[in-house]
Symmetry: C2
Subunit: 226 residues, 2 copies
């Protein structure tokens, strides 16, 4: 059991989900955890700021080692617990190349998603423009189509980087889930829907779901027209 | 010699520099390369789009394996040529944790830098606001101070993640260099200046410098007041 690990996390946060999915996949259950409230500003509390000067969640500690970025935490966990649980980085050069490529395209997907779903959060009222939101929606539509095409070219039942569940899915599934939570059309994105339905049944995802999403069910319809 | 590798790159691009520095550090000189012009839109040419549907540089191939994101290319090269050239990912858990943490904080630094240095590029004329640029500058100043503090807490002559040059420097140095190129004050950021001067002398950096920066000397003063 991972008693020397501590995770501070917040509801509905794809970066927090990533770290939690990686912990589950590496069989590192039983870590200490504390749910903090973004609404109450607890991510800016002294408890977080002492470990994470950016005041963001997740904030993760393994002994005295601090990993606050979700990609950093996931890569560290895979490296330190390589032979435990799911192998998240494939061995073969071809599989690895595709895995790294998809893994590092995910932040672009996430950014484009956020600039539509959370436009009002990022842009103060006096600086908002319909033209900017329209452009953001067009960029997200192109991004969604790119991922739909990636999946279309692969065999049915594939994960983001092939037939195995990999680190690309650990970091990418939360972004796909966030898109559907914000009203993405299952009809217009059938391959992303298939992928979403495949991965949401995984025990690692079900484990974190039960702590988060099921208790926090409301989404938005901000992506419904895309 | 890396005759089975091909890099398509553009002048003055931190993501391109990353990939080129990683290739040098892993002793993978002699790869095929082609310099494309952002100004002429060659990053959107068929040659690029056929390999990279995002139409971005770098675009990198190793045999039939395609790695278009600079982080993906760097991680792949380190993994596939682990025992060759510089070891870019430290072995010990503590060094590795700090390396991954700093490595994955760099995209935030880069984003904040771009939103000041290239504000006019990202935001169309009718959507620009002095208040937004002011906020971007404040965010970048806080970011620069964070990195200055990270370096301040380490021994003199340290790299971004300790006494060894690591992947954090491969991905991070180009962003620091880009900040100085856009007028960052050496007086107000003495630790970042010390770091910049330390790393720019490295053979891997000198090798790519001679192809790029020295032929492309003009910078801006957009960061001079920060």
């Amino acid at each position: 059991m991972a008693k020397d690990m501590t995770l501070l996390w917040g509801f509905g946060s794809p970066p927090c989900w990533r770290t939690m999915i990686a912990l589950e996949e590496k069989n590192l259950q039983g870590y200490n955890q504390k749910l903090l409230s973004f609404e109450k500003g607890e991510h800016k509390s002294k408890e977080v700021m002492d470990i994470n000067p950016r005041g963001q969640l997740p904030t993760f500690k393994h002994g005295d080692k601090i990993l606050n970025d979700s990609y950093a935490a996931c890569m560290y966990l895979e490296s330190q617990f390589k032979s435990q649980g799911t192998q998240l980085i494939p061995e073969s050069a071809a599989e690895q190349a595709l895995m790294y490529q998809r893994m590092f395209e995910i932040p672009t997907f996430q950014e484009k998603l956020y600039y539509v779903a959370y436009y009002e959060y990022f842009v103060p009222e006096g600086e908002r423009h319909d033209s900017a939101l329209k452009r953001n929606k067009e960029a997200l539509t192109a991004e969604l189509q790119l991922w739909e095409n990636y999946l279309q070219k692969m065999e049915t039942g594939s994960y983001l980087a092939g037939k195995k569940f990999t680190m690309a899915d650990v970091v990418g599934f939360p972004v796909v889930a966030c898109a559907f939570r914000n009203g993405l059309s299952e009809e217009r994105y059938p391959k992303l829907t298939e992928y979403y339905n495949l991965v949401k049944e995984r025990p690692s995802v079900e484990a974190i779901w039960s702590k988060d999403w099921q208790k926090n069910p409301q989404g938005t319809d901000k992506l419904k027209d895309l």
